[in-house]
Point group: C2
Chain length 250, copies 2
C-alpha cells in the first residue's frame, strides 16, 4: 500500500506564536516566571510553556537543553530563558513589535536576546555591551543603542524562529558560554544575532565558579581553530580566541 | 492564571521511528519512491512521509527545504532524500541496523548518507569516495569500506537524528552543494558525517549546469574564510577552498 504523504508548501506552518522554553531548576523561580509571562499577554491561546526538567538533578546542560526543547516546540518563535527571569513591563505585544522591527532592519537575523556583546567593536572599546535589563547590577540599566547587532548573547533570554533554527555545539558541555557558542554557530550559518529592547528582570548573579573557567577553556580551544585571535565580547567579559600554543586561561 | 507548563525529561520523545522527507518535483518519481519505501518496511506505524512541494515551481531550494521539513518532522530519525531515489534491497530493518552500528563506532555522528567524500584523505588520493549505490554510473557500485567517515555527503540521501539536528547555511542558495554544506556545519557543531552501507538506487545523473558553478563559487567564498586551502572531497569532484585572492572557478 502506498503511504500517504503530507505535502508542505510553506516554511513555517506554526499555529502558536511562542514556545517559551525554560531550563528549570527551581519550582519557586519558575512559578514567578510563568506568572509574569501570563500577566503580560502570553496565554494558552498564543503560547506554550516547555520546561527542561532539572529540578531533581542536571538531566540537561546548557548545550543540550535547547536541542531537547526545540525538538518539542511548536511555536513560531522559540524563547530559551533561565528560570530566574521575570517579565516586568514588556510583554507579548512589545516582543512581537521588536521582532517586526528586527525583520525590517535585518532579515538575516537568527537570534535575538536582551543582552550581548556588540559585534566586532574592537579589542579595547569599553562600550562593548548592549542591553536594557534590570539585574543585580542595577535597575533599568541601558547600555548601547538597541536594537544592536551582537556577537554574543547572555543565556538568560535567547529567541529564535522555529523555521530558522540555530543549534548549539555538540562538543562543548556545561552551563557557561552556550550563549556565545550559539551566536558563533549563527555566524557560521550565515546569519546574525541581535540584542533587542525587551526589558525584563534577571535575578541571576552570574557568578564565575571554577566551572566557568573550564567552559571558557574548552570554548577557546574550539573556536580558535576557526577564528584565531578574534576578541569576542561577552556579557561575562572579553574572550581572546588564542591559538593553541598560547591557549592559557586569562 | 498560571500557565500549565509541560516538563520535558528526555532528549528524544519521538514516537515514530522515521520521518522520510523528500524534495518533490515529480509525482511519478515520488510514487516510485513511496512504493519502494512501503515495500521495504517503512509503514504508517513506524514512519511518516513529508514532501517539500516543488511540483509547480521551486518554492524551496536545497538549503531551505530541509529546514521547512525538519520543523514538521516527528520521527526519531529524519531522512532527507531526492524524489529520484528508490529502495531496492535494504529497507527499514537494515537501516536501523546500520545506525546501531554507527552509534557503537562513533556516538558523535550527526549525519549519515549513502555516498560521500572520505574525510581528509589528502589532495591527491584518488580513492576519495565512499559509497554503495546503484546509479547511472553503474549497478551495485562499491567504493571504499563502509561505514566510512566522510567530509561531504551526496544530497540524494542524508539522515539525521531529530534530537541532534544539523542546519544548512542561510547565506547559500540553489540546488547544489547543500550536502557538503551541511557536513561542514556538522563539523562546526563538533560532530561527524558518515557514509553507511544502505544500498539504494539513485536515478539522478548529477549534471553540472551553469547553476552548479555559481553554487560552487559561493560555497568556496563562504568556507575559505574558515578553512582556507582545505581540499574538500565531494561526490561531484574536489573543491579547493581557495582564499579570496585566488577565488577563481576551477
Amino acid at each position: 500500500m502506498r503511504p500517504v504523504p503530507r505535502y508542505v508548501q510553506q516554511a513555517d506552518g506554526a499555529t502558536l506564536t511562542f514556545s517559551v522554553c525554560t531550563l528549570v531548576q527551581s519550582d519557586e523561580k519558575y512559578d514567578r516566571l510563568l506568572a509574569s509571562f501570563a500577566r503580560l499577554g502570553f496565554t494558552a491561546e498564543n503560547s506554550e510553556f516547555l520546561a527542561a526538567d532539572n529540578r531533581t538533578g542536571n538531566r540537561f546542560d546548557g548545550y543540550s537543553w535547547t536541542k531537547a526543547l526545540l525538538a518539542e516546540a511548536r511555536g513560531r518563535y522559540v524563547i530559551f530563558c533561565h528560570d530566574d527571569v521575570e517579565l516586568i513591563e514588556d510583554g507579548h505585544d512589545a516582543l512581537l513589535a521588536r521582532l517586526a522591527e528586527l525583520d525590517a532592519i535585518d532579515p538575516t537575523w537568527l537570534l535575538a536576546g536582551v543582552a550581548g556583546g556588540r559585534w566586532r567593536v574592537g579589542r579595547n572599546n569599553w562600550k562593548r555591551l548592549a542591553t536594557h535589563i534590570s539585574d543585580p547590577t542595577g535597575e533599568d540599566r541601558r547600555l548601547g543603542t538597541l536594537p544592536c547587532r551582537v556577537e554574543s548573547l547572555d543565556e538568560c533570554f535567547i529567541l529564535m524562529r522555529r523555521s530558522r533554527p540555530v543549534v548549539s555545539s555538540y562538543d562543548l558541555a556545561g552551563f557557561h558560554f552556550y550563549g556565545p557558542d550559539i551566536c558563533l554557530q549563527a555566524e557560521f550559518l550565515g546569519g546574525t544575532a541581535w540584542a533587542i529592547d525587551f526589558h525584563l528582570r534577571h535575578y541571576g548573579k552570574g557568578q564565575k565558579w571554577q566551572s566557568f573557567h573550564a567552559c571558557k577553556r574548552q570554548f577557546i580551544a574550539k573556536y580558535a581553530r576557526y577564528q584565531p585571535n578574534r576578541h569576542l565580547h561577552c556579557t561575562t567579559g572579553i574572550v581572546h580566541l588564542s591559538p593553541p600554543d598560547e591557549d592559557v586561561d586569562r
